[in-house]
Subunit: 267 residues, 2 copies
Amino acid sequence: MPAQTPPLSDPPQTAVGDASAAWNGSSPSFSPLYQQIKGLILRSLQAGEWKPGDMIPSEFDLAARFRVSQGTVRKAIDELATDNLLVRRQGKGTFVATHAEQHTQYRFLRLMPDSGNLDSQGPAARHIVECKRLRAPADVARQLQLRTGDPVLEVKRVLAFADTPTILEELWLPGGPFKGLTQDTLAQDQGPMYALFEAQFGVRMVRAEEKIKAVAANAEVAERLAVTMGAPVLMVERLAYTYNDVPMELRRAHYRTEAHHYRNDLS
Amino acid sequence: MPAQTPPLSDPPQTAVGDASAAWNGSSPSFSPLYQQIKGLILRSLQAGEWKPGDMIPSEFDLAARFRVSQGTVRKAIDELATDNLLVRRQGKGTFVATHAEQHTQYRFLRLMPDSGNLDSQGPAARHIVECKRLRAPADVARQLQLRTGDPVLEVKRVLAFADTPTILEELWLPGGPFKGLTQDTLAQDQGPMYALFEAQFGVRMVRAEEKIKAVAANAEVAERLAVTMGAPVLMVERLAYTYNDVPMELRRAHYRTEAHHYRNDLS
DNA sequence: CAGTGGTCTAGACCACACT
DNA sequence: GTGTGGTCTAGACCACTGC
């Protein structure tokens, strides 16, 4: 290797050459340079070269490393920033996004009080109801892309806002990546659960899909949320993914919606 | 005016000068050039200079018109495209977005069958239950930024998928912009309702906010959706906006969710 | 073929944050 | 001041569409 920072690890075809011959294979199905750069940055993120909260090298440095212009790196970072994988801070640098921040406290929680916001009611009271290992039931296994019977963790907890139990959620995590997670760990933690996952297990949730239904409260939901059996509650099933669309958490939650609503913006 | 296409209509301070002195006021709270260009394009859209489905001038033409570089126009259009106000088509041009397109048929409807997709069940059967003029109740007026008692249109309709009535929605429109809308117009229309609004009234919905709750079906909901009274149904309240964040429709809908769910992607 | 959007580069300068 | 991201320009060339 020359004096340069080591460039590409396994270039399918030496991803970048001189500026003059920078094009990447003439016709058959090819992605622009900045997409390739995006992929390389993504790989470094997955590999943990830069951890959540870290500052990544400057655009200029990355441009030198990948042997492209600063503008090309910029466009790659732009897309990663719109995907919420990176956060730009003018004058400071570009940082790996993390769930451990004040203003992203509830980034994945769309429940809002009918008036005001979640913070205005003070912090949520959390209560871990249970945390146990078991063999994945068929539907859980399917959604987490595991085999039926593979070890998974099952966690159940209740969140209360302004002294009203509002959310009951049950979640399943693949046993492998989350080996060592205990009820104590969860109970003692103060911040967002996804921040804990980052810090303790190196698992960063980057996106999720939710499916929402209205259902009647069953006995357990009624008890935990202090509603009558059969009362209408919102059922929110979430499948959360890490990098590369790998599902890492299935979460089935029930929300009381007398004083709250699920908020969504369409465009 | 010189030979150029007429540039800026009311430049607060001649938005663009030479390349050398292109900056726009040194310190006090100023937006970048491309934001100003974005604003100018937006104004043309509102003014109806280009209508939904139309092709707008090429980036190069717009650059000449606004006396900026093509790259600056490009960035402005980029943002308008991510906001879904414009649609780029490589090799063809850039077009004003419209609701009258196959693949945007259900752009604002997030209800999905638990398996398959809405189209796979064939077209929805629509039935207009009522359409009448009335004076705005207080809450409707507030959300539509009208005065209580201002004239509004109230429409009620039912959508059925695969012979099952699934959606009951009630919607309110400001009387002014929608003068002349009748039950017949609505009943005879085949396409998306928002496409009708574009074509007949020049009102283009660009974004919306939805608030979702689980509620018990009342007598009317139970009857229209063929569920038992008290059954849990999803209540979706939507406030839809035209350009410039002007609210133009309030819609309160009830969804059956035995075989469907509301889908949402988080990131 | 000409016209359009899409990519890439190189260099200049501005705005913000830290020291 | 130095270093970072943010804006703007100018020009070259590529890829897609339709004449």
